[in-house]
């Protein structure tokens, strides 16, 4: 802005007589400039996150089907209904099943993939590129292809399993295996992402530390368990937090692998077989646009969305409390790095 530059000479002129006033005006000018820089982000946070979050809570105490011009206040009705709605425990259980198979295998397999590929060489670069490839593709495209892979008649997975002489399960068509199949696909698609973060963490493990452990008589497993794991623990923690947050929001892969399409309303038909893959968000989506039931519509969907937000908050908070004990922090290195860039002077 122009005022920043025009005030510059004043700043040097005022250098000797009144140092205190100078500092005040300088810092307030700096604050004003900073405010201009962060204004879009701050406005965005207020208008598109904080405001709607509060409004959403307000809506959760109303009934609204969008046909009526305005929401009607219904007090705690939605929340009471939510506590008694037997579809809620069902979708939560589906999410838990997804986490048990998907999130845990993601954390383990991406570490394994990183261990297999963290020493750089030309071939390893190729392996990494291949493992990472599914991550850049859309979950809809990937889901559609895997839907064919799992096809019970001639899908490659089914055929492959039967070649081994094992009767193949019905994958996406059997309520017992559908969610696990989706979880496997999500793990397959995201392993490259986890691997990438683990690789940069593994490259930060100081070689002298490993050598010292070897001299002390530690075997390979002991070195991994007591040197490598503590040093990469911030990454393990970061990936557990983000992948769990993601698991609670599962939607696209379920639509791609279980939804049909009638006039483009894919999500409304997804979640099968027998609702065994219906997730929290899928249920919220359906309630948002479903006005057949007495308690449904935007108000009830807002209550479900708030329940989701609270669940994520609680689970993340628990992780921070529990993780705080296990995560190794580089106490002396971190503050210095932060201090370096502070302030423009």
């Amino acid at each position: 802005m122009t005022d920043v530059r025009s005030q510059r000479p004043a700043e040097s002129r005022a250098a000797n007589p009144a140092p205190r006033r100078r500092r005040n005006s300088l810092s307030s000018r700096r604050a004003r400039t900073a405010l201009m820089f962060v204004a879009p982000q701050v406005i965005g946070l207020l208008v598109f996150t904080a405001g709607p979050l509060v409004a959403s809570l307000g809506l959760s105490f109303t009934h609204w089907d969008l046909v009526a011009p305005q929401p009607t206040f219904t007090g705690l009705e939605n929340w009471q209904h939510l506590l008694g709605d037997d579809r809620i425990p069902a979708v939560l259980w589906n999410t838990v099943r997804f986490i048990l198979v998907g999130t845990s295998s993601f954390l383990v397999f991406s570490l394994l993939a990183a261990l297999l590929t963290y020493t750089p060489s030309r071939l390893v670069g190729l392996y990494r590129a291949a493992l990472f490839l599914p991550y850049v593709l859309s979950q809809i495209a990937v889901g559609v292809v895997w839907r064919w892979m799992f096809n019970s008649q001639s899908g490659p997975i089914t055929v492959g399993v039967e070649l081994l002489g094992i009767p193949s399960p019905d994958w996406l068509l059997d309520p017992a295996t559908a969610m696990s199949s989706i979880a496997m696909v999500v793990t397959w698609q995201t392993v490259g992402y986890g691997m990438t973060l683990y690789i940069s963490a593994l490259q930060g493990v100081p070689a002298p530390l490993l050598e010292a452990a070897t001299i002390d008589g530690a075997n390979r497993w002991q070195r991994f368990r007591h040197v490598t794991i503590p040093i990469i623990s911030p990454t393990i923690f970061f990936l557990s937090v983000t992948s769990l947050i993601g698991a609670f929001q599962l939607f696209d892969p379920v639509v791609a692998m279980t939804g049909a399409s009638i006039g483009g309303s894919g999500p409304a038909t997804a979640g099968g077989p027998s609702n065994s893959t219906r997730t929290i968000v899928l249920y919220m989506y359906n309630q948002m646009f479903n006005y057949d039931e007495p308690i449904s519509g935007l108000g009830y969907a807002a209550a479900i969305a708030w329940m989701l937000a609270m669940l994520i908050f609680i689970v993340t908070a628990i992780q921070f409390v529990v993780g705080g004990r296990f995560v190794y922090t580089e106490a002396e290195r971190a503050p210095r790095r932060v201090r370096r860039g502070k302030g423009t002077r």
């Binding site: 820089f37 969008l66 001639s154 929001q249 483009g264 919220m284 994520i312 302030g343």
Partner: protein, 275 residues
């Protein structure tokens, strides 16, 4: 010596199998899109012979507006990426380089925002955008991005914090204020950060589905992922057309990945540092 070589061979053998498992579905999709109907389910057709493009023709018959969906997707991805880059890099610069009251609070607020699922803010936004007549236009998706995203802001903050302090000193000697310092010195120096976060944002917008399916219900406003999803029910058995759709939708991203693979992967590995 012999055991070392055997182990190396075993390692590369295993890795090639693994690599194949990760590339196979993409290969299969391209392959099936080029097979004749008679060969669709044949096991020896991974490299299709003979090759046919009839499924692509059928895809355009089924979705005559495919170019329109392509354009819709492109508009959202380009505008959303540009807005995110500008606003988030500005905020990231101030958070990294200017000391101002409320900076710590803003950082904490942004951290907390990362935990808030989009769903919890979706319904009031939907109501307002509907009121404004923005449904079935790119606006509900693009406009919030013009204000930047906390994720990208964090990324830029981490990047700018690591640049040497002398940059501002040199700029100050030249009499440049923060705006000129930012746009003339920091932005040109940070091409790799802009490229990395730009690619990540673009890819995620290109691939996104959930918000689009909420805001873009009318068919002419669809994006590619919606069009692709719509193929499933109608052409349940027409795998050729479905795979042609998968191939076309993924092709731009695949090409970008082949060109910028290092950048994308590097950008991803930098996002881990944000914690």
């Amino acid at each position: 010596m012999k055991t070392v070589r055997a182990r190396t061979a075993l390692y590369h053998g295993a890795m090639i199998v693994l690599t194949f498992a990760f590339v196979f579905p993409a290969l299969l999709a391209v392959s099936m899109s080029l097979r004749t109907d008679a060969n669709m389910f044949a096991a020896d057709q991974l490299i299709p012979h003979p090759i046919t493009f009839e499924h692509y023709a059928r895809l355009f018959e089924a979705l005559p507006d495919l170019w329109r969906y392509f354009l819709n997707t492109l508009v959202i991805a380009v505008l959303g990426t540009a807005g995110t880059l500008l606003s988030s890099s500005m905020a990231g610069f101030a958070l990294a380089r200017i000391r101002f009251p409320g900076r710590g609070a803003l950082l904490i607020a942004m951290l907390l925002t990362l935990m808030v699922p989009v769903h919890a803010t979706l319904i009031p936004q939907y109501v307002i955008f509907r009121e404004l007549g923005w449904l079935n236009t790119p606006l509900p998706i693009v406009v919030p991005l013009l204000f930047g995203t906390p994720f990208a802001t964090f990324f830029f903050r981490q990047y700018f914090i690591a640049l040497p302090l002398e940059l501002e000193d040199a700029a100050a000697i030249d009499g440049a204020g923060p705006w000129r310092t930012f746009f003339r010195i920091f932005v040109p120096l940070s091409g790799s950060a802009y490229l990395a976060i730009g690619l990540l944002t673009f890819v995620s917008l290109w691939n996104s589905y959930f918000l689009n399916t909420i805001y873009l219900a009318r068919q002419e406003s669809w994006v590619l992922t919606q069009a692709l999803q719509s193929l499933i029910g109608r052409y349940q058995t027409d795998y050729g057309a479905i795979m042609a759709g998968v191939t076309l939708v993924s092709l731009p991203i695949l090409i970008a990945y082949l060109i910028f693979q290092r950048r994308i992967v590097h950008g991803i590995s930098m996002t881990g540092l944000a914690n």
